[in-house]
C-alpha cells in the first residue's frame, strides 16, 4: 500500500499534473495582469513571466528545443525590444486618461462568452489520441524537418527576419517632416 503510493508519487502521474497546474497558473494570472495592470512597464514584465511559463509548458510537452527558443527569442529579444519602446515613449503616458478605453464594459462579456464557447467546445469533443510512444530524439528530428521538407519555410522565415530588421531600422530612423 505504502509502496504503491510511493511509486505513484515517484512516477510521472503525480508530478505531471502538479507541474501543469503550476505552469498554467503561472501563465494565466500574469496574462490577466498584463491586461489589467495600470503601468505599461509592469505589463511588459508580467508578459515576461507569462512567456517563461509558456516555455515551461513546451518543455512539459516534450518540446525542449522550442522551450529554449521561446526563452531566447521572446524573453531575450522581444521583451527587451518592448521595454526599450516603453522607455522611449515615456512622455506619451498621460495619467489623467485611464489605461482602458470605453470598450471595457461591453468587450468584457464578449470576451467572456468567447472564452466559454471555446472552453465548452474543447471539452465536448472526443479527441482521437494516438497511443504510441513518442520518439526520444525530438530535437534532431526537428532539425531534420527544418532542413528537409520545410527548408523553404525556413529560408523564407530568415529572409522575412532580414527584411523586418532593415525595415524597422529605416522606419524608426526616418525623421518626420513637419
Amino acid at each position: 500500500m505504502i509502496g504503491g503510493l510511493w511509486e505513484q508519487i515517484l512516477s510521472g502521474s503525480f508530478w505531471y499534473p502538479l507541474a501543469f497546474l503550476i505552469l498554467a497558473a503561472g501563465t494565466l494570472v500574469p496574462a490577466l495582469l498584463v491586461v489589467l495592470s495600470r503601468s505599461l512597464l509592469h505589463s511588459a514584465l508580467w508578459l515576461l513571466v507569462a512567456l517563461m511559463s509558456t516555455a515551461g509548458l513546451f518543455v512539459l510537452l516534450g518540446a525542449e528545443a522550442l522551450g529554449a527558443l521561446q526563452i531566447l527569442i521572446y524573453c531575450g529579444g522581444i521583451i527587451v525590444l518592448i521595454l526599450f519602446a516603453v522607455m522611449l515613449t515615456r512622455g506619451a503616458a498621460r495619467p489623467e486618461t485611464g489605461v482602458h478605453n470605453r470598450l471595457l464594459w461591453w468587450s468584457l462579456p464578449v470576451v467572456l462568452g468567447f472564452g466559454i464557447l471555446t472552453f465548452t467546445l474543447t471539452r465536448r469533443e472526443a479527441w482521437p489520441l494516438a497511443q504510441m510512444h513518442g520518439p526520444a530524439d525530438v530535437t534532431p528530428r526537428l532539425a531534420d524537418a527544418l532542413l528537409g521538407p520545410y527548408v523553404l519555410a525556413f529560408e523564407v522565415a530568415s529572409v522575412i527576419l532580414l527584411v523586418a530588421m532593415v525595415g524597422a531600422t529605416v522606419i524608426a530612423s526616418a525623421e518626420p517632416k513637419q
Binding site: A31, G77, A85, L103, S107, V138, D144, A168
Partner: protein
C-alpha cells in the same frame, strides 16, 4: 518519454482558449499601442500552445506542429520589431501612442 502525458488533452486546450480570450481582451480594451501589441503576443502564444499540444498528443511522429510553432515565433519577432518601429515613428509625429487619439484618417 511517456506514451501520452497523464493529463487529458482538454487541459491544454482549455488553457490556450483562456489565454487567447485574455489576449483578445488586451487587444480590445487597452489604449496604449504597445499594450495592444502585448495582447497580440499573448494570442500568438495561445496558438503556439495549441500547435505543440496537438503535436505531442498526435503521437509526436511528425514534426509539423513544432515547425509551425517555430515559424510563428519567428514571425512574432519580425512583427514586434516592425510594430515598435512604427509606434516610435507615430510617437515622434503625434506625441502620443494612444490608438484612439491617432484618428487622422477617420472620415
Amino acid at each position: 518519454m511517456t506514451p501520452v502525458p497523464p493529463i487529458p488533452i482538454q487541459a491544454f486546450l482549455c488553457l490556450s482558449a483562456c489565454l487567447l480570450a485574455i489576449g483578445l481582451l488586451g487587444v480590445l480594451v487597452r489604449r496604449n499601442a504597445i499594450a495592444v501589441l502585448l495582447g497580440i503576443e499573448l494570442m500568438l502564444n495561445a496558438a503556439n500552445i495549441n500547435f505543440v499540444t496537438f503535436w505531442r498528443y498526435g503521437g509526436a511522429q511528425h514534426m509539423e506542429g513544432q515547425v509551425f510553432a517555430l515559424i510563428v515565433i519567428t514571425i512574432a519577432a519580425a512583427e514586434a520589431a516592425i510594430a515598435l518601429a512604427i509606434i516610435l515613428n507615430v510617437y515622434r509625429r503625434f506625441r502620443t501612442v494612444n490608438v484612439d487619439q491617432i484618428n487622422l484618417m477617420k472620415g
